[in-house]
Subunit: 271 residues, 2 copies
Amino acid sequence: MKKLNRNQRVIGITKILTDSPNKVINLNVFTEKFNAAKSSISEDLMIVREVLNSLNMGTIETIAGAAGGVKYRCNISGEEKLEFVDELCTLLKDKERVIPGNFIYMTDIMYNPEIVRKAGLVLASTFSNLDVDYVVTVETKGIPLAYEVAKMLGVQLVIVRRDTKVTEGTTVSINYVSGSSKRIQTMSLAKKAINKGSKCIFIDDFMKAGGTALGIFNLLKEFESELLGIGVLIDNMETKNKLVEHYISLAELNGIDENGSVNISPSERIK
Amino acid sequence: MKKLNRNQRVIGITKILTDSPNKVINLNVFTEKFNAAKSSISEDLMIVREVLNSLNMGTIETIAGAAGGVKYRCNISGEEKLEFVDELCTLLKDKERVIPGNFIYMTDIMYNPEIVRKAGLVLASTFSNLDVDYVVTVETKGIPLAYEVAKMLGVQLVIVRRDTKVTEGTTVSINYVSGSSKRIQTMSLAKKAINKGSKCIFIDDFMKAGGTALGIFNLLKEFESELLGIGVLIDNMETKNKLVEHYISLAELNGIDENGSVNISPSERIK
């Protein structure tokens, strides 16, 4: 291909790096693709790093050694984070969302890629220093969010199921007590899904008492693996006694008031 | 913020555009963020467009009028597409994947963000001319892939469930006959999930006879909506009589041979 100038190379480099967060990309990928000297690419990378940093769009780290290269790590500014959570709360406050049984319809939010991308960015940037091996979730509503977090951290997603499937091979199932309804529930995970001795975080859409999160903690013990963090989109504050202590949430739900509007506000845990 | 030069602006512009595929972004977003004149931003955009085009990394379209702006549309070169599908087939050929019942364990592939992103890119670029309103899938294994396609097309994801949930409000349920096992199954969707008169595509991980796809076609009729396309990762060719005619697949599975290796090859439908 024809030689590109600096303006052109930094565009390609930005696209390639941000497409694969947390993955080490060898400099040869760029020198070959853009037909440029290593020294030019190094200078290009300095410019990309500086700009992404100054715009709070992420950082670029250099990894030394033979298997070295550069990798992109996502980021969001504190200001943008709060702005996003405010917008999210405004969306959720809509009276139209209250459905019989005083539940809040939020499926459209959990499946909206624009919202999920930003929520995933907030959670991933919170956990990006943990060096995890897997992002774990339970089917179904939290899957897109957990997928975004896994993608931004550059790791594998693991989905724990409510039932067992023939296409999963040998599975490990545990029973757990849902913290709010006190019902016994089951969750299963394929034995092939997680390597022994792994570090995981758990991502979900909603937390009541935290029974599911505690269940995941116990399930991971069966895989001799550790739960390093928990992140949820919405924390139901009406359930006071939580079964887990350390977790982050984006918004806190305090029930529905006498006018039928949803009482929700940005979480104290991300400020 | 301090004024950025062209090198620096094109990096920020590339990041913002590619973060939100198929969403119209007004030029004011860029002039304000980068403290630059509209004429400079227009020139920046021409450079970004040219480079992304020449690297087969997508296109940038200009939308005229008051609500106008620019939008990014994803793309992948024919060469990269075939290379990716070849790699996918190599991964799936592994004998270790064959589990009791002669099923192929592919959960790790469906939940690997790097693979899902590329598979999603192939499917999204195939359907990007259709102008769809929703990407529909059925829980669970195809959700990350369908989410990627929805994100790349800039539309809402819809997940049809096997059961009904109290948190979904009123739902529409249909019964359908699985094409291969001939068992009657149920699928449900919240009434709020799809607006009347919408255009949809269906994305899934695996197709046997296409009973699920036909079920989705019928379910969408209940929402007075249309199914414009079907895309799956793997098509099981051992089931000859398909219940749907028009669909695309990335790979074709032809069973497991006498040595216990998986017989899988790039699909004729994407070449």
